[in-house]
Symmetry: C2
Subunit: 224 residues, 2 copies
């Protein structure tokens, strides 16, 4: 599904260069379930953003579904993001002025689905994360873990072929986290690809393969 060859990402901060990724090469196939682990600052979120075409590498080649991402124009990139990829961001990225349901509905609006279909799907995704009784509440009226679950519902509602989830259980108690991981396992069983970032070994063991980053490099890549 995706192939990264010698990808580096360098940020310039004043006079300094910060190397988020250093010459990373890896491939992830369709229907894989991959966990990415590593210390704070090791490049996990940067990698997720590159995989999801939310950012561009400083150097290297990235092929997604056989196509070089550099050669895609912005409309094609947006189409891939909207149709194929569900994101759970480490910082949730919810719209503060929308309700939980409004946040979950957003990718369906971008997709142009009719209102009745949107409503049905939103209700299903919200029920899946256990927040049906809070659908009309805004993010600042929800707890940290409840906001995280809204972010997860938003990622699931489009039924994407690739889920990119950055620390999706970081603010969740064990039982709620296990519910979310069951949803991801179901997506995987449905033939889709799941890539998740976590620092919890218990969570990573739900995947089939663990890629470990350190200082912007792949330290190890092994089956679970």
């Amino acid at each position: 599904l995706l192939l990264m060859e010698e990808i580096s990402k360098v940020y310039r901060v004043g006079q300094e260069e910060v190397y988020a990724l250093r010459s990373v090469s890896l491939a992830i196939g369709r229907n894989e379930y991959v966990a990415i682990m590593g210390p704070s600052g090791s490049g996990k979120s940067t990698m997720m953003n590159l995989i999801g075409c939310l950012d561009t590498p400083s150097s290297g080649r990235y092929l997604l579904a056989g196509r070089a991402v550099q050669e895609l124009d912005e409309d094609e990139l947006a189409a891939i993001r909207n149709r194929e990829i569900g994101f759970v961001f480490q910082t949730f990225n919810l719209l503060p002025r929308s309700t939980a349901a409004g946040n979950v509905e957003l990718p369906l609006i971008y997709r142009g689905l009719p209102a009745a279909e949107r409503k049905r799907r939103v209700a299903g995704a919200i029920a899946r994360v256990g927040l049906s009784d809070r659908a009309t509440h805004r993010p600042n009226q929800l707890s940290g873990g409840q906001r995280q679950r809204v972010a997860i519902a938003r990622a699931l509602v489009t039924e994407p072929s690739l889920i990119l989830a950055d620390e999706p259980t970081g603010n969740l108690d064990t039982a709620t986290g296990e519910e979310i991981l069951r949803a991801f396992a179901e997506i995987h069983r449905g033939g889709n690809t799941v890539v998740l970032v976590t620092h919890e070994e218990d969570v990573a063991r739900h995947a089939q393969r663990i890629i470990r980053l350190r200082d912007g490099r792949v330290e190890s890549d092994s089956a679970v």
Copy 2:
């Protein structure tokens, strides 16, 4: 140090009432190390905000250091918050336009310390969380876990007698999380009080006592 008697917190959302806390009574003594656990939405952050005088209960009595918090005016409350309590918020609450060092320095500015003293303390707190090489970077130039560590440094810099830390290791890898917990243990050994919210049992075991919340009530309260 603090005594809560029959504290409730009710939010009104449109026509609904959401009970964050229901008639909670508890006491936390000086030099205790307490972990608060419970499912998502069970009232943990609400409780932390009330303990830290960042919010007021809907009903009930709260005594902090022998004084009824309701009877304190805003200046007295602000003085308690600034002098006595270090906060690590679940959402970090960093100033996006300030550097890491600037964020850590903020409570010292409020306290009116001289510049040289502020600088010394900031450098110490930032070194303690392993971010000396990133002190001049702003929050959007830092990873999730690095931002969390800045928030932790800001809580430690005033050398408070009470640390309130809401999910302080949620975005941290195990090794970095253990470093932070060592810092909290050192604060506790110094005679201060630590109250932390976590959903990780491994983290909670560093405390002496675990209070478990469920649906806004204290479900259990036991020594570790």
